[in-house]
Structures are given as structure tokens and as C-alpha cells.
């Protein structure tokens, strides 16, 4: 539809990406430090067996400590593991770029930050990550940057969720009607092996702190403005609706085997990440 505006927004976001990537790394580092005490052996790190070295084996694979006990050179073999794929998706519709106050991060920025931090943690765990809808999973040092770029690209038209294996991490405000969301998640099909659905909301969307006569403008769909004579009068009703929406989204997510996580942009990102990451781990364990 308005691909031009989409591209502009994407470019503006891309300009902020290096900072965002850095922030995500720091955020992931904080969580990493927080989980340090109960860290389990990562996949692929597990010792499997010793094997006699054969000609042609790399010297770096020789386990010198073991070999020194006898006269044979031993080679250390690790457990072969196939790393899981973390599929990440961040909603890109214009409403995501909104923040109720200049000091608050926009929903988009916060969602991207969380998504990248998840990606960072996954990469550190040896897993592969991929932006939903893109071809190949990303690995290696520049993977995070590539992931970030992929996440802000305008969504490839027509490409739904990739049908394949992987754990899902979906970020967005999910303000659409619950049936629509259920349909969207349903389109992901049976290949799913769990994941998280992170609903990022602005505090103003939850609390509705408006007074007096307010003219609400539609930023998402471009519909007609809503002229509310006394905003405080409709606030209770709105809050009830919003609570119902959040409840519905959680329900839909659980139905699609996704763990729902609610995050408000006025709360610290680390708190959200601390809830997202265990949920992802649990999904991965379950999927394995």
C-alpha cells in the first residue's frame, strides 16, 4: 500500500540500528550475567567420547591431557547436535512507531530491542536465528547486524511465516481483533514448535490518561478521526476493552502453543527479556 512511507520508516529505523544492536548486546549481556549461576552446558559443547587420533586429524582436536596418560594420541569428540532455529518477527505497521511521550521508546524500537537481544542470546548459545520470511538462518559474528537489517526491511509481500522448523518469537502490539490474530497465527501451520508472543504496549494504551475534548487520529489504518468530547468519560470502558484484548491475545497465543508475554514500554526492557528468554528455552527443550 504505502510502501514508500514504509521504506522511509525502515530507513529511519535502519539508521538507528547500530545503536540498537549495541543496546541489545548490552541487554543480552545483562541477562547472561544474571543467569550465570544456573547455566547449563550448551548444546554442542557436551563431551561425547574419546577416539584415537588418525592421520589427517587436526592437531587442535587432540586432547593432550588424555593423551599424556598413555602412549596413544586421543582425539576428543563432542556430541553432535543440530542447533535449533529461532524465527523472529517484529510487527512493522505504522502504529508501532508511536510513543505517547517523547521520553518513551516507541513500541517498534522496544520490540526491536527485545527481538535483537533474544537473537543475541540465541547466537551466543550456538543457535541459528532467522527473520521470519527470510531464506537462510543467520550464524556468525555479523549475524546480529544482518538480523536487525532483515527485521526492519518492509515485509516481503505475500511471504507468510516460513514453514519450517524453528522456535517462534513474535513481537508486536497485537491490537487487531483476536480472530484475525488467530488466523495469522494459524497461517504458521503445524510446523511450529512453540515460542513466545510478546505484546508491546504503550502505557497510554493501557491507562488511557486523557481528559477533556480529544481528537484521536488513526495512525494504523488511516480511518476517520474520533472526536471524543470528554475523554475521561470513556476511560473506564476503554480500559476494560483493553484488558479484554490483552486477555484474548494471550488466549489465542496459548492456543497456538506460544507463551504470551505482555510488556509496557515504560517498564525496563530487561524485565521483559527475563521473562521471554526462559520461555524460549522451555519451548526449545520441549521441541528437542
Amino acid at each position: 500500500m504505502n510502501s514508500r512511507a514504509d521504506r522511509d520508516r525502515a530507513e529511519a529505523l535502519a539508521a538507528a540500528l547500530p545503536a540498537l544492536v549495541l543496546a541489545a548486546r548490552q541487554l543480552a549481556g545483562q541477562l547472561d550475567a544474571g543467569l550465570h549461576g544456573r547455566r547449563r552446558a550448551g548444546p554442542g559443547e557436551q563431551f561425547w567420547q574419546y577416539r584415537e587420533a588418525e592421520p589427517g586429524d587436526s592437531l587442535r582436536r587432540i586432547d593432550w591431557r588424555r593423551s599424556a596418560r598413555g602412549e596413544t594420541l586421543f582425539r576428543r569428540e563432542r556430541e553432535a547436535e543440530t542447533a535449533a532455529v529461532l524465527l523472529i518477527e517484529v510487527d512493522r505497521h505504522p502504529g508501532m512507531g508511536w510513543a505517547s511521550a517523547p521520553a518513551l521508546a516507541s513500541k517498534q524500537a522496544r520490540a526491536l530491542l527485545l527481538a535483537l537481544a533474544c537473537g543475541c542470546l540465541a547466537l551466543a548459545g550456538g543457535e541459528r536465528v532467522a527473520a521470519l520470511g527470510c531464506r537462510a538462518p543467520l550464524v556468525g559474528g555479523a549475524a546480529l547486524t544482518h538480523l536487525a537489517e532483515a527485521l526492519v526491511q518492509p515485509a516481503p509481500t505475500g511471504a507468510g511465516f516460513e514453514r519450517g522448523e524453528g522456535v517462534l518469537a513474535l513481537f508486536g502490539d497485537f491490537l487487531e481483533a483476536p480472530p484475525l490474530l488467530a488466523e495469522r497465527l494459524g497461517a504458521l501451520g503445524a510446523g511450529l514448535r512453540g515460542g513466545v508472543l510478546v505484546q508491546v504496549l504503550d502505557p497510554a494504551e493501557v491507562e488511557f490518561p486523557y481528559h477533556g475534548r480529544v481528537l484521536f487520529q488513526d495512525v494504523t489504518a488511516g480511518g476517520p478521526d474520533e472526536d471524543v468530547a470528554r475523554a475521561e468519560a470513556i476511560a473506564p470502558a476503554f480500559r476494560a476493552r483493553m484488558a479484554a484484548q490483552i486477555e484474548a491475545v494471550a488466549r489465542v497465543a496459548r492456543a497456538a502453543t506460544l507463551t504470551p508475554v505482555l510488556h509496557r514500554t515504560d517498564q525496563p526492557a530487561l524485565a521483559a527479556l527475563a521473562r521471554i528468554y526462559p520461555a524460549l528455552n522451555a519451548s526449545r527443550q520441549a521441541a528437542r
Binding site: M96, W98, D173, R213, F216, Q217, E226, D227, V228, A229
Partner: protein
Amino acid sequence: MGMMLGGISFTAPLILLALLGLPALYFLLRATPPLPRRVAFPALALVRGLNPTERTPARMPLWILLVRLVALGLLIIGLAGPARVPPPLLPGHGPVLLVVDNGFAAGAHFAAMKRAARRVIAQAGHDGVVLLATAPEAAGQKLRASGVLTPRAALAQLGVLRVQPWPDDDRAALVALRAMTQRRRMRPIFLTDGVAGPGRAALIHVLAPVLILSDGAERVRLLQGARLGLHGGLQVRLAVVPQDRPVLAAVLAETPAGAVLARAIIRVAPGARVGSAVIHLPPPLLDQVTRLVLAGPVHAAGVLLLDGAARRVSVGIVGGAQAAQKFIGADYYVQRAIPRADAVRVGALGTLLADQPGVLILPDVRLDPAQVLRLQRFLTRGGVIIRFAGPLSATADDGLTPDPLVAGVRHLGGALGAGTPGRIGDFAAGSPLAGLAVPRDVRVSAARLVDPTRLDPTRVWARLRDGTPIVLGMRQGRGTLVYLLTSANAAWSNWVLAADFPLVMERLLRLGVGARPRHGPVQVISAMDGRGQLGPAGAAARAVPVADLPKMMVSPAHPPGLWGNAQGRIAVNVGAHVPVLRAGRVPSGVARATLSGLRRTRRYGPIFIATGFMLLLVDLLVSLWLRGLLPGRAMLSAALLGVACWGGVHQARADGPSGSALTTAVPAAALHTRLAYIATGDAARDRTTRLGLREISRLVGHETAARLGRPRAVVPGAEPLDLYPMLYWPVTAATPTPDGQACRALDGFMASGGLLVIDTDGGDANAGGSGAGFDPGALAALRRATACLAIPPLAPLTDRATLGHSFFIVRRFPGRFVGAPVLIAAKGGRDADGMSPVVLGQNDWVGAWARGRDGAALHAVLPGDPGQRTDAERFGVNLVIYALTGTYKSDQVQLPMLLQRLAPRRAR
């Protein structure tokens, strides 16, 4: 005046009708909802359908509505001009007839009277004001009441109304009042100073029914009669109207420039008319006082001009130790006849003349022709000479006499006398002695005799009974020569012993202080205005015979001020030339009020309007904030920014000028005078320089009063050089060429009075003196190093220059070496004081001066003849003293000649 509402009136009451429109405005404002806030909202889908179906427009919040209504109400009331008007002074209608006293008695509080007049005019309003001032502005000018004036015109007229230095003319005011045709329908107010005068009662009677506005005559102060007291103080009196409480007033003694030299408090006892005080000042200061002024607003009655009568005379008596002998000395009696207030000096003629006395007394002094010439000059310049005859002066005729004298002495009594001793016959009318009582008991036994054939009778001021002149006097130039033809001691007559001889001396001495006119008409020369300022006299001022002056009353035709004629000046002060102060009586039944009792109209309009606008401003800000156009944080930031700017300005002001180039080392250098040198970088060389300068500093402290601190090495251009009197610069082949900044610093040092001493470590092989060949390349190094300096044309230093005798007398200027020429600025290149800014030598002075800690010289001197090192050190002291004092020593050498040349110039 408009509508009255409980003491508050409105100047434009019709505007208040607009208040009726406020209720309408209320409904209008209430119906107009405030503009909505616009908010982008992604969760709009959840809002949809929530909006209540009733579409009643949003109401304006009630409190905003009230604020707006109150603001508008305030504006409307403010525009209507509310004012609290004091109750009217006079009942009825019609123009106010305002009669204002502006004579001398109003001077002290004329400002308060004018303020009261302004309030009266304000109250009169549109009924108009007729103004009449009671003191005429100039001689021959009749008093006239103004027409009916609008308040604005009346205020303008009041603004130019000036207080006059003479009394009110009530009779003239009466005439002016009677000339007014429409007086009957006016409301009269008399703004008066409260002093009684002729015709005042009649004036009040004619004005009746009148309101008298006055603070009474108690505020009037009249300064009178300054004269020299017997003991040197200046006596001054203050006249007031008798009062129940004591009156205190401060009197200031002022110089012509307005400086106050003394202050005295005069206290007038309760019930008394006059109090007095004495101003004590040292005689030289007393001479500078030209007027006495009452503290407070300066006005004619509070100003006392001083003339000769109040001025001190400085008297010189030519005499000596012998002349001052008790009872027989020539000046013994004369000294006692002089009033003690006058400054008397006794001494030789030459020293007395240098002091410029007003009067010179010569009691029997023999004069040589040169002295006569100087005395003639003294006369021409305005001096007064009082000569006495005597045996010494009788032996020769020196010509310093009004009329030629016959040689010798005429003995009037005694064994050889031609008859009986003479008695004083009379004092010539018109002479300064005229009017003195003729002493009866005076016997003149001997006197000089005037050559009768060449006698000018007008020059005889006193005669003996037989007609022999005994006092001669004449004006010569601006001065006066008086010759008493008898002796100043008791040898020739007993006149000097007479009880009234001091009166004669007093008359004669007064000739020496800006002489006072004795006869003939006098007229005003500079007239005093109502505020005590002297200015040109008006054309209408008339002359008065000097004899009538004491009884003259000041008036437009005879204004106070300085009067005089060709003979001299006399001060006519208001205090001595007005009638005795008496409080005017207010007849019973006449309404009266004090000036301070007059309340002024208070206007509240501006306050209402300002408050209304403030409220509107608040409303505007609140509306903007409600619409989200003015975030609270923005307001806070603006406030903080304002505070920060304000604080920043204060900070900048507190910091003051910054960026001074002073380094931390400088204060130490500034605390103590010290020599400085430019380090060469060669450690041994620098040590020699430092030790040499230290030794010379020590020597200077030992030999002279100058105390110098430790020498300092400086880098020109990197630090200020102004702190050092002398800068020593050893230049060798290794000396680096100074850069531009250093050159500028050295040039500045020389230009600002510093002494730059440039020295080399010996000279080239072909240079003169014993240092030849010690520093090959020295000349080239000198040229190179000084190329960028503004060094004036140089000349060889000789022992006749100031440097040769600025402390020690030295004939040569050796250092470690001797013989090479020393160069200083040639005459044309020195500064205005004749001081050379630079000394250039090749003798290595510091090498000769430098001594180690043990006091032993560091270097041998060449060729080492006896006294070379001593001479070097003496020259060093000379250098420092030259740097410190410049050409002072040269001036001192020339002192006698300078004084001789200055003396006539000073006398002129």
C-alpha cells in the same frame, strides 16, 4: 469629575456600562468549547464506538470562564478611571485664585509649597486656576494675576515660577488683586510662607473668605552676619521666628568650587530670635571659604557670601631678632596691634615677599634700590605696604613713599624740639581712616617731614593739629602704600601705645583683603538669585551710595549679591538686608491648613488594568497548556533557562575581566623592587650575572635607602617586565636572536621608563680597552641581538652625564675590563625626563661585581689597577640609582638655579 461612589470617583463612568455586557459574554464563552487536543492513537479501534452518542458540545471549564470574566471586568473598571479624590478644599464652584508667596522666606521649603500648589491645581480641575505670585521678578515689573488657566497651563506656569531672593511685595499684590474684575466669583487660596510683612493683613482681608495654606513662619531660616571672631574663628548667626522648641541648623563653609571645608551647628534657644556658632578652621583653609550655606536646599536666605570683612589677612613684618626686642624693638608694638585672627609672619624682606603676604609692614627699615624695586612690584600686584619712619630709614631717602620727604627728622618736642609734642588733629574724610575717633592722648615727639612744595593733599590721611601730615597714603597699581611718618616703637611717639591704635591698624590691614569701597556709589556686580546662585545682575539694578548700603533692604532694584565699585567689593547678604523676621498672624475666622494636610488624588485605573491583563495572560498560558501546545516541561525549561541566564550574567559580572597574562611568579616580583636579567642559557655565565646583580643589590642596600630583593631571571615576552627598574642583558656570541615578541617586550620596557643594560663579555680583537679579544664576535652578536630593538641614537658616556654622579662620582665605568667606550642614548633619544633607556658597554660589569658566598670576587679584573673593582661597584650603584630615580640627581645639582628661575614665575 465624574460619578462618585463612596469616595471613589470615575473619570469616564460611561465605560462602566460595558459591565452590563459581561453576562452576555458569559453565555457566549460558555457556549464556545475549547479547541480539542489532537492525539495520534494506535489503539483507536478500541475507542471506536465508546464515544457517547449525545453530541453536546464540551463546556468551557467554569474556572477558566470566571477568570476571563473577572479579567474583563477589571479592564472595564480600570478604563473607567477609578480615583479617590480628597474632599474639596473649598466649597462651591468657580476658578481657584491661588496666591503664592515666592519671596526669600519661601526659599527653604519652596519645593513643598510647589507640591501643595500642584495638588490645589489638580483639585481645581476644570474650574480653572488663577495664579498670582507675591514677589516681583525684576525691578519695575508689576505683579499681575494670570488669567483663568486650565490645569495643564497652570502646572506649566507653576513650573517656571521661581523663588526670589527679596521679600514678598504684599502691597503690589494688593494692587494686582484689586485690578482683577472677576475676583468675587473665585475661590481664593493663599499659599504663604507665614512671615509677616507690611500689607499682609490687608492682603488677607481682601482675599477673604480665604483658605490659608501654610506651614508657618517656623520653617524660615535666615543666615546673618559672618565676621572674623577675635580668636580666628568665623562667627555666623542664624535668625528665626521665636519658637517653643530649640532650632538646630547646620552651616557649611564652602569654597568657590563647592567643597565643604567645615560644618557647624547653630542652636537657637527656645524663644530666642538669634543663635550663633563659630566655625573653626586652620587659617589657610579659612582663606578658601567664600560662602556659608545652610544645609538643605540652597536658597538665598540660607547663603552668606563672605567679603573682605570676613577674610583673614596675611601680614608680613620685616624685622629680625633685634627688632623684636621687648618694648624697644621696632616691631614689638606693631605685632600687638594686629588682630589675632590675622596670620602674622616676621622675617627678612626676601622670604616674606616669597610668601605673598597681603600686607607688608616695614617698621623703620632701610631699603636698598633693589629691594625698593621689588616692593614697587609688590605694590603694583595689589599688595599693601605699611611703612613706619624711624632713625634708620631717616638717614636716606629711598623713594618708597607717597610724597617726597625731607631728609632728616623733625623733632617736635623735648630739649631740641621746635615746640610742644604734636597731637593727632584729624583723619582725612574719604581716607580709609575716616570716621575713626581722634585719639586725644597721643604725643608725637618726632616725625619725618613731607616736602611741602611737592605735597599732594589727597594723599594725606591724617594730620597733626598743626596741619603737619602724619599719615600718608596712596594707591599704586592695585596696591596701597601707607607711610606713618612717626616710629613704630615708643621712641618718636606714643601713638603705638594708644588703646585705639589697633583700630587704626585694623583699618589699614583691611586694605589688604580685596579692598572694600569706602565712598561713592556702589552697585551690584553679581546678583544672587532665589536659589543662592550668583549670576549677572539685571539691567534694572540701581546704584546706592556706599554709606546707605548697611541700611538698604534687598528688592528687585537692589538685589543681594556682590556689590562694589572700582575700590573694591562688598557682600550684600539677604540676612542683613531684610526686615526682622516675624510670624504673620492669621485673623480669627480664616480657614487654614498645613501643606502636609493636603491629600492628593489617588488613581486606581492602572492597577485594575494591569491586574486584568495579568489574568488574561495566565488564561492564555493555561489554555495553551490544556491544548497540549505548551508542555509543562517546556515551561519549566523556560523558567530554568531564565534563571540560568540571569545567574550567568551575575557570574560573568562577578568574574570581571579575565584573561590577565600575569603568571603566578609575578606577585612575588611585584612585592619587592628587584633587578632582573635575561638568562643566556649558559649556566656559568648566568651564575656570574646573578651573583653580580646580587652583590650590587646588596651594595645599594648598604649605601643607599633603596632595598632591593633578589635578582630574577626573566624571559622577555613571556612575563611582564614593568615590575623591574633595570634589566641586565649579557650578550655573547651564543646569545640567541630575540624573537618578535621578546623585542616588543624589551621595546615596551624601555619606553615605559625601564633601564636596559646591555653588556658583552669583552670585545673583538680590534675593540678598545683591556677586554679586546676576549669575546671575538661580540660586536656582531650585539648587532644581531639588538637589530630588532628600537634603540635610540647613542653617544659615549662621559663623567659629566647623570650616570657619572647619580650616587657616587665616578670618572670611568669599568667592569672586569676597562677602557672600552660605554654608550648611552644621545640627548635627542632620551625620554621626556632626559633619561637614557639603554646603557651599552663591553666591560663585563657583572664579572667585576660578582662575589661568591664567602665574599671573594669570582673573577679577576683586567688590567687590575688599584680601584678598578671599587670603581666598577660604584658605577653599578650609580646604574641602579639612575634606574630608580632617573635624572633626579641632575635636577638637584641644578636646584639653586631652578629655584631662582622659578621664583619670579611663581610671583607673577
